[in-house]
């Protein structure tokens, strides 16, 4: 039997959430959900783990801070100490208050850009990539649940479609994959 992919289209995020909950309770695995804006509360229903991008940002920020500390130490204390307005320059700890703005800015710079680049790569969203949403309406006003028969060996396509019809679904599309 060929694998099938079923797209159940809903008109409201709340209706979609209700339907997803019903399907999960019946033992059907939901592959993905496509929506024009974030559907709050869908992640635990379809079993998505929390993203680790916050940690990524922290790590990039720490890297930025370390680089900035190293850079200011090397340039201002080690390589060429400069006596400017009598500001102490013999020891790093004496000079560090004057570096705080740069340390802060560089930390933010690395944290923000590192996270943003990771985000784009993880989402597979890069310039010129083709859109891979199943239905153009999913970026406008429709909310779509994607189900695949290969994920649900316990239920065939007809059974899943039958279950979907019991939910306030707007449209059901089936495709071979």
């Amino acid at each position: 039997m060929a694998n099938k992919v079923i797209y159940a289209v809903y008109e409201d995020p709340e209706l979609l959430k209700g339907a997803a909950r019903k399907l999960i309770t019946a033992g059907v695995k939901v592959r993905d959900v496509f929506s024009p804006f974030p559907v709050h509360g869908i992640d635990p229903i379809i079993g998505l783990k929390r993203t680790r991008l916050g940690i990524v940002s922290f790590m990039f920020g720490s890297m930025g801070l370390s680089l900035a500390l190293l850079g200011t130490y090397y340039m201002m204390i080690y390589d060429w100490p400069m006596d400017i307005g009598g500001k102490p320059n013999q020891h790093f700890y004496q000079n560090i208050p004057a570096f705080v703005p740069v340390l802060f800015e560089f930390t933010v710079l690395c944290a923000a850009h590192g996270m943003a680049i990771t985000y784009l790569i993880r989402n597979k969203t890069l310039p010129g990539m083709p859109g891979r949403n199943p239905d153009p309406r999913s970026t406008d006003d429709k909310f779509i649940i994607e189900l695949r028969t290969e994920d649900n060996h316990g239920h065939d396509a007809e059974a899943i479609t039958g279950m979907l019809r019991e939910t306030p679904v707007f449209e059901i599309n089936e495709r071979q994959c």
Partner: protein
């Protein structure tokens, strides 16, 4: 589903569906541009061209083409720089700080405010660069290894802090803005029919799919970026103020500068947002999204920050008098300034920044579109005068009376300033024509909680069977 108190006024007026929001916001992109747009773009582009001409003249002739002299060695250039940076503070404040405070009204305002921020910071960053005289050596501001031995930048200097602050602020603002734009570009990509538009928005949308994981990451990134951008917003203008505050010039050497500059920046930034948005809501028929309530909220921010600025003026005036120091007698907030040759600039500041914005304390004024717009322009002018006063007035009567002088701008001074306004409006008009001017995905997410036809329990599901 989140609920919102019924007494809160709706943020999206009329009986709108998700599809209506898309249609309303994308209409200017799908339809032909109006004649007014072409006329405005032509005017802005002509002014921009003149400005670029002035800048080229300045670069080829040196900064002697500006009217600065031995006493007043910083003038319009730094005035314009601080003015533009200040204007560039509203966008990220609206998108980051108000996101952390969960202010839903920001969603109708943030996109265009962020665009304005980015263009304003671009204009701002240009002034220190052209002031260097030898702009081809501008890369010297970065700590790059170079062929002159150990010639490093000075990390003790607020001017270098500025380099880091402005470049970080600019690039982080661009990233924040663009990450919010990606899903909206995808909406346009999936909707437009013309081939070039499909290609154009296809490339810009980065292949956004809008699946659950992508949205989860999107929200996390928005939140973390907001958390990072919030201290950034406050740091940038603090650092700008330290360009003055760490010097020894009377009037500049002041400990209240950082908070006072930040308040002033937000004050002028919101004024510029109002100036642009109130025209845009009419021209692009977005009255249902940018409502009277939005304008009132923004005016309240202007009132608060304007109040902080007014208190700062008062403090500065008092301190210059109370210190009893002769050198303080002619700082920008002093009896000398109020009665001297620059009295007109002093009073322009007081009238434009305190007296006229003070009218916003009256509810009919701050809820009127016309008065909000008129006052926002006055504030823009007033905040330019504030920077002019701080810079030129504090310098013109410095220590030695033999060095006292006045500043007279040349045509190049005027041309570069007007030119940046032209470049700014050219960019903004192009943005308004080709980019989604409201954050589509964010507006849709508040429709069911803050939309007029969904509030107060009477949930209208007209398209449901």
């Amino acid at each position: 589903m989140q609920q919102e108190a019924a007494i809160r006024p709706p943020l999206i007026l009329g009986h709108r569906t998700f599809g209506d929001i898309t249609a309303d916001v994308i209409a200017p992109i799908e339809n032909k541009a109006s004649t007014t747009w072409y006329v405005l773009l032509t005017i802005a582009a002509l002014i921009a061209t003149y400005g670029i001409g002035c800048i080229l003249y300045l670069i080829s002739h040196g900064i002697g083409a500006w009217g600065m002299n031995k006493t007043i060695n910083w003038a319009w250039d730094i005035t314009n720089f601080v003015w533009w940076v200040g204007i560039g503070h509203a966008g990220t404040l609206i998108s980051a700080v108000l996101l952390l405070f969960r202010q839903r009204w920001r969603m109708a305002v943030n996109r265009s405010a962020e665009a304005m921020t980015i263009f304003a910071v671009m204009m701002a960053a240009m002034f220190p660069m052209i002031h260097m005289g030898r702009i081809w050596l501008a890369y010297f501001v970065f700590p790059l290894p170079n062929q002159f031995g150990s010639l490093w930048v000075n990390f003790n200097s607020p001017l270098l802090w500025d380099v880091f602050a402005i470049s970080t602020y600019f690039s982080v603002s661009v990233v924040y803005w663009y990450i919010g734009l990606i899903p909206d570009f995808a909406t346009i990509r999936d909707r437009v029919v013309k081939t070039w538009q499909k290609k154009f928005y296809g490339v810009l949308s980065f292949g956004w799919t809008g699946n659950a994981k992508a949205w989860q990451r999107f929200e996390e990134v928005s939140l973390v970026l907001a958390g990072l951008a919030t201290p950034l917003v406050f740091s940038v203008h603090s650092v700008v103020s330290m360009d003055f505050a760490t010097s020894l010039v009377p009037g500049w050497h002041s400990t209240i500068f950082p908070p006072y500059f930040v308040a002033g920046a937000i004050f002028s930034g919101f004024a510029m947002v109002q100036t642009l948005l109130l025209v845009m809501r009419k021209a692009m028929k977005l009255e249902a999204y940018v409502t009277r309530k939005h304008v009132e909220y923004m005016n309240i921010v202007i009132m608060v920050t304007g109040g902080i600025v007014a208190v700062a003026y008062g403090t500065e005036f008092f301190m210059s008098w109370y210190s009893g120091v002769q050198y303080e007698a002619y700082t920008y907030m002093s009896v000398g300034a109020a009665t001297g040759q620059y009295a007109w600039a002093f009073w322009a500041l007081i009238i434009c920044n305190i007296l006229i914005p003070g009218m916003l304390w009256f509810k009919p004024v701050r809820t009127s579109f016309f008065w909000a717009w008129a006052i926002s322009i006055v504030i823009n002018v007033g905040m330019w005068f504030e920077r002019f006063d701080i810079i030129v007035l504090c310098l013109h009567h410095e220590y030695l009376p033999s060095g006292w002088t006045m500043f007279y701008p040349t045509w190049v001074d005027v041309g570069t300033f007007i030119g940046t306004i032209g470049i700014f409006f050219t960019l903004y008009l192009l943005f308004a024509r080709f980019f989604p001017v409201l954050a589509l995905n964010e507006l849709k997410s508040i429709l069911k909680t803050s939309g007029e036809s969904y509030k107060g329990g009477e949930v209208l599901r007209k398209s449901q069977h």
